[in-house]
Amino acid sequence: MTTLIENPPRPVGRARRILGRNPLGLLFSAPYLIFVIAVFAYPLIYSIWISFHDFFFTAPGFEADRPFVGLTNYLTAFQDPAVIRSFGNVGIFLLINVPLTVVLSLLLASGLNRIVHFRTFLRVAYYVPYVTASVAVVAIWLFLFNGDGLVNTVLGPLAPDPSWLINSTWAMPTIAFFVTWKQLGFYILLYLAALQGIPKELYESASTDGAGPIRSFFSVTVPGVRPATVLVLLVSTVTGANLFTEPYLLTGGGGPDGASASPVLIMYQKGLQQGQPDVAAAIGVVLVVLVLVVALLQNRFAGGRD
């Protein structure tokens, strides 16, 4: 009977054979598909095309000759020490931010998962920085971390000189700590979802076998949330490579002296301020290829066999 209801006897047209049983699905999805093509697929290909051509801004409607120039844009970009430095900076950022994010968010999530009292208050507290605009929280950190701000007042003689954000050693780590704090709520959320999927029995049998809380954290929790860890690694790496707002505002445009400039900040300066979109596109392509390589390596080493 069910098959009869699902397939009422009606003539099967050619359109139905090509488009599937409910061609309406395609119609319902058409706006989204057009959106993805217009805003993601086409610009993605266009970006790669721009990076291999001599491209400059023209007035709307004006057709300019844009010759193929091979790797010239890539060479121009990477002969600039500022570009190399920005990639090094983002490397420092990722080395601090990614491990710190994974460790802290997993520890906090497993703590929050078991807590009984003040559950809502605690969760909300950890999510609030994540839901707030970067620009707003940057303003607070500027106040906290400036030369005679509260942080240095509390640290007294231990405060670095020059202060955090204008110190070429500390500028990038400060940004990395800022982003870790700002984004942690989202990763806690992901880990909390993953922790729901670990059967209670595993903890019970671990405890029967005499495992303490630390042992069962490493033998049950850590392997149990491995897919989430792979996701946290991927998302935090992509977010880190996208770094722009923090160096632009916290350190006044990648200062001091380029010590906290990120590749995206350089892309903005070169592409839109100095009118070299082709060089900026080349930096973007290299950055994305590097992110892909890092993501694949992470997946290889953290992903296990599943």
């Binding site: 309406l24 993805v36 707030t132 996208n242 632009y248």
Partner: protein, 277 residues
Amino acid sequence: MSRFQKILRGVVLFIGAVAFLFPFYYMIIGSLQTAPDPTIAGAFPNPSNITGENYTAINDRINLFQGLLNSGIFTGGVLLGTLVFGVLVGYALAVLQWRGRGVTFALALLVQVVPFQLLMVPLYVLIARDYGLSDNYLGMILPFAINSTAVIIFRQYFLQLPKELFEAARIDGAGEFAVLRRIALPLVRPALITVVLLTFIGPWNEFLWPFLITKEAGLQPLAVSLANYISNVAATAANPFGATLAGAAVLAGPVVILFIVFQRYFISTDIGSGVKG
């Protein structure tokens, strides 16, 4: 786990929570100080050092109301696009059988890991130069018009509804659109709130794209005008920190309040599944 360990865990989590909330508390305190007080005493309210002047000062430099309105229009446009088109595609992915369904679902997942930095230059060329949409709400909204995480969340919710419901309505002669509007949509109302919350924080907090596309101060969302204030104007203000923190409080306020009121819809499992697929 011993009683001592449980208490220790609670204390650690509580100290962590205070560390996460303190900057927000400090933002409010700082925004109300006549003169910035970076001493430890300055972290506590001091009746002799309280003023509302910073809010007036920032409002003189950047029109807070206009900024909030622009952020609201930008966010509203994205919400409208996501709710209308996201529901349609989520329903099509979960309920309807059509060719290209698998590819569309894969695209919705893939789009979430495409880094914006690669799209920055071509999108700017296309939207600002070719379509002439700079300094325009449409140009601001376009790259965010349909939130892909929302599409996945809608699909998850529609998948959970029993198929028989839809079949029964179809036998009664309801068209597919009527089934979606009268039967499916009322049943996924919690998903609508989750999606609104999740989508809201994107454009409201977004800085890079509206910063690139709007040069005219009257059209800039609050995040952009506040950032311009921080990087250009703050140096010349009497109490730059007070005014900046006042602006930050106005920018952060709506999201934080919305989030606290509806926090129970910000559920880990939904959003986790939305990101993971």
